[in-house]
């Protein structure tokens, strides 16, 4: 039998390794493109609607300010998704590995309560702190302590999630639903439902400061608030980790085919624990920034964040059955979310309609994404 000419011809030529005709120009475009397109369309719509009212969604209309964009709008749009966005980075990884995390919102709530208890200041306007949880010796601690406590509590909750999912083999939906209920209970129990307020000044600066100052690029300014900086930094970090490290490869592999990953010699259980732990840690980061930004912690904090975080990832093109998705997609999903929130306020849409339209937009964005992917497949 003669040997045919196969060999490793570089792909991208008219014929690939298998001798089939291969046309790289027509290859399926990364799904993130569709999400980016949806984002642009949405911004354009809000811009038009604002112009009809004589305003502008994105651009600066005040004569006294020398800037291209409406700086405050840009600032708030980055700021308002930063905190849920950070959770969403963790949720993205959990979904890619084939799981789901319903607990992230409640974990933020519980972590917020505990963290804030270690961030309180002793004197408020000269009087003892009326919301004190512990005695005065636990007040005015260095800012590092509440930060470490917050990260540790988040990590701990994530670890429990991971251990449950990996070693008891119960569905992640259940494990994290249990954690959701439990963590919410814990956050109410911690201070009997009382809010915990009045952090030290340095703790408040964590979120309300701008580490790098206002960043100016020509006529484009950005205040660069810390939560947004942290979000963007973590997004880049996890983008690199997911695409270039063993951690990322295994995360995708397990989500794609857990049995195969196991047979290939991946320690699936340990890796899952790691992924859930990282998600918990990110919830901890989120809780620290959230309490610092609001200067208070409440038992009800973070309610529904888990759904927002999942929605961001899904709008970003993730597959809920695992194995697919990207950090870039999630960041774009977060951007769409933010545009919706700010856009509605900017056009003064009645709050009654906002929720209804928001639901429709989430669904619409995903439909658009799916339809375009299918179309390309058929072409």
């Amino acid at each position: 039998m003669s040997q045919p000419t196969t060999g490793s011809q570089p792909t991208g030529q008219a014929h690939g390794l298998g001798g089939l005709k291969y046309d790289p120009a027509k290859r399926t475009r990364a799904p993130e493109w569709n999400v980016a397109l949806a984002l642009v369309i949405m911004v354009a719509i809000f811009e038009i609607l604002n112009r009809l009212n004589g305003g502008s969604f994105l651009f600066n209309m005040r004569d006294n300010v020398d800037a291209i964009f409406n700086q405050q709008r840009i600032d708030i749009m980055l700021l308002q998704v930063a905190i849920v966005g950070i959770i969403s980075l963790g949720v993205t990884q959990v979904i890619i590995v084939g799981g789901i995390d319903l607990s992230s919102g409640s974990v933020v709530g519980a972590t917020a309560m505990v963290t804030m208890s270690f961030a309180q200041t002793a004197l408020v306007n000269g009087n003892p702190n009326p919301k004190a949880v512990f005695g005065p010796e636990w007040m005015d601690l260095p800012v590092l302590i509440p930060i470490v406590v917050g990260l540790a509590v988040g990590l701990f909750a994530g670890l429990i999630n991971g251990l449950l999912v990996a070693y008891t083999k119960i569905p992640p939906f259940i494990a994290t639903l249990g954690m959701m209920v439990t963590a919410r209970g814990a956050s109410r129990w911690w201070s009997n439902g009382n809010p915990i307020s009045f952090p030290t000044e340095s703790y408040g600066q964590l979120s309300n400061g701008d580490l790098l100052g206002t960043l100016t690029f020509g006529l484009v300014h950005w205040q660069g608030q810390n939560p947004a900086l942290v979000f963007l930094f973590l997004a880049v970090l996890f983008h690199l980790i997911l695409n270039h490290t063993l951690y990322g490869k295994w995360t995708y592999a397990i989500g794609s085919n857990e049995a195969a990953a196991r047979m290939s010699g991946i320690n699936v259980d340990r890796h899952k624990v790691l992924v859930y732990a990282i998600a918990g840690l990110l919830a901890g980061v989120s809780a620290v920034l959230l309490t610092s930004k609001n200067l208070t912690a409440q038992a009800g904090m973070g309610v529904m964040y888990e759904l927002d975080a999942i929605a961001m990832a899904v709008i970003g093109g993730i597959s809920l059955s695992g194995g697919r998705g990207s950090i870039l997609g999630t960041v774009l999903g977060a951007a769409i979310f933010s545009v919706i929130i700010s856009g509605f306020t900017s056009i003064q849409l009645d709050a009654y309609y906002q929720e209804m339209v928001k639901g429709a937009i989430i669904v619409g964005a995903v439909i658009l994404d799916q339809a375009r992917q299918r179309k390309r497949m058929r072409a």
Binding site: N70, I76, Q80, N294, L295, T296, Q298, I341, Q348, A351
Partner: protein, 293 residues
């Protein structure tokens, strides 16, 4: 332009009346208001305020989710130079508000106190000296729930109650009539004798009443108290089922807040603190409140 309003929660009956008060006042004055729902989320509320600022409103009204979380809001509005009015719930930084900020609020300490004392008086009038009661709490993470429950114990401890009160059990029904109904039936199934139910709001009181009626309990033999004086509660009171509720003038608070906001936006000076008192409602003065909420 226009005035931005951030409400703590749309689903809340009382806050709905307050919201309607603002809207009615605005319509009457030909003002544009943009009312947002913070859905009980402090963080969302702060974001909404920032979005208002980005949109260039002339003033902001906030019904705070958390009265101890107002400093960040005050700072945000002050930095942008936009007037701010807190409504219904007294902000923690009320004494240090900047000049272009104000508040129109009520003191939750009054509500639970009025309710408990009135119930105590009723028991005393029935000739009882010691009573066993159930306490129904609102959502545990909600301050009104925590405060109104605390009021009960404060009244007892301060000796303002004419009878000795034993709390058999205290549980949450999350402000909800349905959950209160379930909770009450579960209590009834334990078979313990009791003299009344103190609920943090009217909805839960009505749920408890429905459960008791379903179990065949004569409503004359128990005292039930709530807070809010909603239409449903007033009807229950008229029917002889509910004994005590507490009225808070939501509409007046709403319109008062809007008035303050308009004045501040126009650069006029206003009273920085306006207290709207709670009022006790019993079958005796029921008729006065029929048209108010």
């Amino acid at each position: 332009d226009g005035i931005g309003v951030s409400m703590a929660l749309f689903d809340d009956n009382f806050l709905t009346v307050l919201r309607n008060g603002i809207q009615a006042q605005a319509d009457a004055g030909g003002l544009k208001v943009q009312i947002e729902d913070a859905q009980n989320d402090v963080a969302k509320q702060l974001d909404q305020i920032n979005n208002f600022i980005a949109g260039g409103v002339s003033a902001i009204i906030v019904n705070p989710v958390d009265t101890s979380a107002t400093q960040a809001m005050t700072d945000a509005a002050a930095a942008a130079g936009v007037p701010l009015v807190y409504v219904n719930r007294q902000p923690i930084n009320v004494d240090t508000l900047p000049d272009n900020q104000a508040f129109v609020a009520s003191n939750e300490v009054e509500s639970g106190t009025l309710e408990t004392i009135a119930l105590c008086d009723n028991w005393a009038a029935e000739g009882k000296t010691e009573v066993n009661v159930y306490v129904m709490q609102g959502e545990l993470s909600n301050q009104a729930a925590v405060q109104r429950t605390q009021d009960i114990y404060d009244v007892i401890e301060a000796g303002k109650c004419k009878v000795k009160v034993n709390v058999i059990d205290q549980q949450t029904a999350n402000w909800s009539r349905d959950q209160a109904q379930t909770l009450m039936t579960n209590w009834l199934s334990a078979g313990t004798a009791f003299d009344g139910v103190i609920a943090n709001n009217d909805e839960m009181a009505i749920g408890a009443i429905q459960a008791m009626k379903a179990a065949g309990i004569d409503m004359k033999t128990v005292q039930v108290g709530g807070v809010d004086a909603t239409q449903d509660a007033l009807a229950a009171m008229a029917a002889g089922d509910l004994d005590v509720t507490v009225f808070q003038n939501a509409a007046a608070q709403g319109s008062g807040a809007l008035e303050a906001a308009t004045k501040l936006a126009a650069g006029e000076a206003v009273d920085q603190k306006v207290y709207v008192p709670f009022e006790l409602v019993t079958p005796a003065n029921l008729a006065d409140y029929m048209a108010k909420n």
